[in-house]
């Protein structure tokens, strides 16, 4: 291959495509992002809240979309589709058709006058037809790009030129262009990533649901829109027939999933159990009457992700009714209500009436996407998802073309984000010689020197749709801001973070010659960087900025007290103005990057991460506490797809050992860590000091061994009781003792989903069922019983469950109140359990008893997390920076995580996460320098008495006593800006830039002013 092209095509602008685009564009590649609709954001932008944190979907997604839309190295092609891809890895020729928008994006200011005047109302596809939009429309309020588009299907003028044309007349920006035509782009890229997502299953194919027949039967996606503040009923939950608030709602699970009859979808859609619980919780919360009866009809409750089981438990405690039953008929009842008939676990038919029925529809591949895949030569599996293998989770059948997100299998947002980074990594692996060859560099205008200017403060007050404005009187706050000293401009915006408002803000800063800016909106934790960059674009230093958090810490927490909330908003604005008045421009510091990585743990995750970085030319130090490579995976027999793990592991370890860029330290642990992103220094137990720019923590987990207590089941006492991994050992050795067995019993959830370990271990259901199948294949006449609580064979793993059942493996459900009892009579195992279906005790005499025991975090993970200053969950796993959108980053910059130390997961997800971690680490390692702290401590030598308290309280050794002057001096490269020294100083001689005592107290005093 000659030098590859340094650019990548990404098809699909949902969260996966956006994440892949950002990863690539930030590490030196130019990205073309093709999206078929008029705005990026995908399905996630349609969601109301996200589980398990109940984060507002649009709020967490919006900053990423805006970043993507503003990125210098991302070329957004909306209303576009890929026509053809020719070529090979490193050099693909791509034809893209960009359909006409009929609105000039450079001119459109998104004022909405056009849509207001447009006479043509059509069903709004963003609201799944529940609401209406005009023929000229914005896909959704926070759309990126925030530009209107004309729908040629419905535009009166485009159908009959000469008629209508109102939009053109009212547009103040002269942006309407009826003569717009489709354009074809020829792109030359090095690699391609497909992130085409899914479409919700259409339940009108299932007549028993009554969907399309009865108005008050809606799909879960429709219900998301009904809950959403930007949806058709503005967040006031209403049912379609009479716009009344529903009081009694039923969710029906597995509509179009786990159904090989009518829906033809044998797979599990993975996300529906959690989103149904979330919708039930949110519906209860949203309800104005505060009185919603929520019932979820399900087969198995699949809450197998991080924090999911706790969410499920909480929902049960909050009174959501979980009914293990499959609904077979929905009939109309009086008042547009619905009669739901179902068969309970005992086989008895029962009936209940509901105001609203929500169908938890599954995920499927859009037929258009299937056609495209076919044309591009991408193989799909029998479920019409992109075919991948466990060891190559993001590779398609065509070399150089990668896949991420729901196109490969139904999956949730964090998993999609992880895969997006993994797909980006695969592209980087091919294209790394061409890094930074096609990118452009962001140039900011020179900054205006504002030292001599009196404060000219601008205040922007955000309505956040209705998030703030429905509680706080934003106009009153804006009017009040005008009266504050130093304020020369104030304005209220619908969405201050929208691209359009951001651009306008930059213009206003220039026009009004503002030298300080306050935004009163959401939290600085998510939005400060965005606004600060706007300041830089407008030519002023980004530290001349403050935020007043009037949403998360005001409108959202004082929903029933609008007056008090408005008063508080005014206080918060006054405090921010008082603080910003004293802010000074600060330098943009940076730290040179040591372009090598430290990977801790040499299991599958660590090995994969190390290789992924080493292949791009970054030196890696790989540390493993044991004396051999491989970790936990050394005990595994095969993946759920049937690939043997041991041969793969040997190959992987061999590649690591042979790689000159990887320095392996076996039998070694991490003793001490100092420094920070770009410049870590780590001491190893073998005495080596490693300098590295980034670190990946992949220290794995352990399997729970129930040696005593409630979950013992004679483990360690009877030789025929094994854990899953112990049985795998016997499979690996092809143990002849496993032939000729008569009976085996598996007990699921041994030590998982129990009070002392209230999480699901995710992998055991699939693992146990695969083992049962293997045993059955070895001994076709054998009887196998699976004692389970819920079978959680999510995604395509469901096919294994179906296979197990068709092989005659028997599944008996138990619950915590009715545990299986294990005893032995003269060495022979006896298992007793109550079968709820026949409502009778069953006694089994297995030759083998297999315990699907929990995956538990390692006890020493806490030590490591302290060294790297990373957080842990209450279950003892490591905690990522954000559960949804930053699944492999720690809150500490430059440190990433992968594998079982994050949460139990199968090998394919471990590999994807390890690659994702490598991609994220690459963001640091691909640069010569990373930004460093600007807010640092400064010493006033005149006041310093040399008492040296500051040197003692500094955790970073950043303050030292000057040997000659006996005064404190700060090493700004090491200073993190915590302010411990400032608070400790007895003589008020040390201060923090822009966070000095006077400045903080100015805000405090402002809070107390009466007005």
């Amino acid at each position: 291959m000659s030098t590859p092209k340094g650019s990548v095509l990404i098809v699909g602008g949902g969260i996966a495509g956006v994440q892949a685009a950002l990863d690539l564009a930030d590490s030196g590649f130019y990205v073309h992002l093709v999206e078929k609709s008029s705005a990026i954001g995908g399905s996630m932008s349609q969601l109301d809240k996200t589980f398990p944190t109940n984060d507002c979907s649009a709020c967490i997604l919006s900053p990423k979309l805006v970043e993507c839309g503003r990125h210098l190295n991302i070329n957004l092609l909306t209303l576009s589709e890929v026509l053809s891809i020719e070529g090979e890895p490193g050099s693909f020729r791509v034809k893209v058709r960009e359909n006409p928008r009929y609105v000039d994006v450079d001119k459109c200011i998104a004022c909405g006058s056009c849509a207001e005047k447009c006479p043509k109302k059509v069903p709004n596809e963003f609201d799944l037809g529940l609401g209406k939009r005009k023929a000229i429309y914005l896909r959704y309020p926070q759309a990126v790009p925030l530009k209107y588009a004309i729908d040629p299907e419905h535009c009166i003028y485009l159908k009959k030129p000469g008629r209508c044309g109102f939009c053109e007349k009212v547009c103040p920006a002269d942006a309407i262009n009826f003569k717009d035509t489709a354009r074809e782009h020829d792109l030359h890229v090095g690699s391609v990533i497909l992130a085409l997502g899914f479409r919700p299953f259409d339940p009108s194919r299932l007549d028993f649901t009554g969907y399309g027949q009865f108005k008050n039967v809606v799909t879960s996606m429709e219900f998301e829109r009904l809950l959403s503040p930007s949806g058709p009923c503005l967040g006031h939950m209403e049912r379609p027939s009479d716009h009344q608030e529903p009081r009694k709602i039923a969710w029906l699970q597995c509509i179009g999933s786990r159904d090989i009859n009518k829906a033809c979808h044998g797979y599990c859609s993975s996300v529906c159990c959690m989103y149904a619980i979330k919708q039930a919780v949110i519906a209860k919360e949203h309800s104005e009457s505060g009185d919603v009866d929520a019932t979820i009809f399900f087969m198995d409750m699949r809450t197998h992700g991080k924090g999911f089981e706790a969410y499920y438990n909480r929902a049960r405690d909050e009174g959501i009714d979980f009914k293990r039953a499959r609904v077979h008929t929905i009939l109309p009842a009086a008042n547009d209500n619905l009669k739901v008939r179902f068969a309970g676990e005992d086989g008895k038919i029962a009936e209940d009436e509901f105001d609203l029925v929500v169908l938890s529809v599954g995920l499927e591949t859009d037929p258009q996407v299937m056609r495209l895949a076919h044309e591009l030569g991408i193989e799909l599996d029998s479920d019409s998802f992109a075919a991948t293998s466990c060891f190559r989770p993001v590779e398609t059948s065509r070399k150089g073309i990668f896949v991420c997100g729901a196109l490969a299998e139904p999956k949730d947002i964090p998993q999609s984000v992880m895969e997006a980074s993994a797909a980006a990594l695969e592209a980087e692996r091919i294209l790394h010689p061409a890094r930074w060859t096609e990118t452009r560099k962001k140039e900011f205008p020179p900054e205006r020197d504002v030292h001599a200017e009196p404060p000219r403060i601008g205040v922007f007050v955000c309505s956040c749709g209705i998030n703030i404005a429905s509680v706080v009187d934003v106009q009153a706050v804006t009017d009040y801001a005008w009266t504050l000293p130093g304020v020369v401009f104030a304005q209220n915006n619908l969405f201050t973070c929208s691209q359009d408002t951001i651009n306008q803000m930059a213009e206003i800063i220039k026009r009004e010659r503002l030298n300080r800016v306050v935004v009163a909106s959401c939290t600085p934790r998510t939005h400060e960087p965005l606004f600060q960059e706007t300041l830089r674009e407008a030519g002023i230093n980004k530290f001349l900025f403050e935020m007043a958090n009037i949403r998360d810490q005001d409108s959202w927490v004082h929903q029933d007290e609008p007056d008090a909330a408005t008063l508080k908003a005014k206080d918060l604005v006054r405090m921010a103005v008082a603080k910003v008045r004293g802010d000074e421009p600060l330098p943009y510091n940076s730290v040179p990057v040591t372009k090598s990585a430290l990977v801790i743990g040499a299991g599958v995750a660590g090995l994969t991460a190390a290789l992924s970085l080493a292949d791009q030319g970054f030196p890696v130090t790989l540390v493993e506490r044991k004396d051999r490579l491989g970790g936990h995976a050394r005990k595994f027999f095969r993946t759920w797809q049937g690939q043997e793990v041991q041969s793969y592991l040997q190959e992987l370890a061999g590649m690591v050992e042979a790689n000159a860029n990887i320095d392996v330290h076996l039998g070694t642990t991490v003793e001490d860590v100092s420094g920070s992103v770009g410049q870590f220094r780590t001491m190893l137990s073998d005495g080596t000091e490693v300098k590295h720019g980034a670190a990946i923590v992949a220290v794995g987990a352990e399997s729970f061994k129930p040696r005593q207590g409630r979950w013992n089941y004679l483990y360690g006492k009877n030789p025929n009781v094994h854990t899953l991994l112990e049985l795998d050992q016997r499979f690996i050795k092809d143990d002849p003792g496993l032939k000729g067995l008569n009976q085996a019993v598996f007990i699921h959830c041994v030590g998982s989903r129990v009070p002392e370990r209230p999480y699901c271990s995710r992998v055991c259901c699939t693992h146990a069922i695969d083992q049962a199948i293997h045993l059955k294949e070895m001994n076709p006449d054998m009887d196998i019983f699976m004692l389970y609580r819920d079978i959680r064979t999510y995604g395509k793993r469901e096919h294994l469950y179906q296979k197990a059942r068709s092989l005659g493996i028997v599944f008996i459900r138990y619950d915590l109140d009715n545990l299986p009892r294990v005893s032995e009579t003269s060495g022979r195992l006896v298992v007793e359990v109550k079968d709820p279906i026949i409502d009778a005790e069953v006694t089994l005499h297995p030759d083998l008893l297999i315990l699907a025991s929990a995956v538990r975090p390692r006890d020493d993970v806490g030590e490591l997390s302290k060294l790297f200053k990373c957080a842990m969950t209450s279950d003892g796993f490591l905690l990522e920076a954000h559960m949804k959108l930053r699944p492999v980053d720690f809150a500490t910059d430059g440190v990433y995580l992968a594998g079982l130390c994050h949460y139990p997961k199968p090998v394919e997800e471990t590999i994807a996460q390890a690659k994702a971690a490598a991609s994220r680490a690459g963001l640091v390692l691909s640069r010569d320098a990373v930004p460093a702290e600007s807010i640092t401590a400064v010493v006033n030598a005149q006041k310093c008495t040399g008492c040296s308290v500051c040197t003692k309280v500094c955790a970073y050794h950043a303050v030292n006593m000057d040997a000659n002057s006996q005064k404190a001096v700060v090493d700004t490269g090491l200073c993190k800006g915590c302010g411990a020294c400032v608070a400790g100083c007895r003589s008020d001689a040390i201060t923090l830039k822009n966070l000095g005592n006077e400045q903080i107290m100015a805000a405090v005093e402002a809070a107390m002013e009466d007005f």
């Binding site: 949403r551 959202w556 927490v557 508080k568 918060l572 309280v953 915590c978 903080i1000 405090v1004």
Partner: protein, 146 residues
């Protein structure tokens, strides 16, 4: 109920809450995200670390007219800056005796650990501190009178 008593009942104190950026401020955000409601008495001041908060700042807040003060940082072991929360706690322990000595009622100045994932706990602490300060009534001891 006479007017004065009614005013007392409706009286909403102003409490300055110094929250560290990494844990407690994020916890306060999460309270919002989860819509946990609490009284509108807090005025949150974001500081990088609870260790940034000096005794003087707490006293100054009371001098400026705050009816109460809350300082909240990361849980022990979770401090983003390694040990700042311990300094804050130690400082608080010393300050507490001093406050009593100068006649500030216990309960006006409060200290807590709240992590980024504890939205509900944040709302609980806000409620507790508010009701504690409400019982004590407006702070007058250190207020500058002009």
């Amino acid at each position: 109920m006479n007017d004065k008593a009614k005013n007392q009942k409706d009286w909403e104190p102003k409490i300055i809450a110094f929250l560290c950026n990494w844990c407690s401020y994020a916890g306060a955000d999460l309270a919002g995200v989860s819509r946990y409601q609490y009284p509108p008495s807090l005025r949150i001041v974001r500081v990088p670390c609870s260790g940034r908060v000096s005794a003087n700042m707490i006293l100054d807040a009371l001098r400026s007219g705050a009816d109460g003060v809350l300082v909240s940082g990361c849980h022990p072991g979770d401090c983003h800056y390694i040990s700042g929360n311990y300094y804050a706690r130690r400082r608080f322990a010393v300050l507490k005796n001093f406050l009593e000595f100068i006649g500030i009622e216990p309960g006006r100045v409060n200290f807590s650990w709240i992590s980024a994932s504890e939205g509900e706990q944040f709302a609980e602490v806000a409620k507790e501190v508010t009701s504690r300060v409400k019982k004590l009534g407006p702070a007058r001891h250190l207020v500058k009178e002009f």
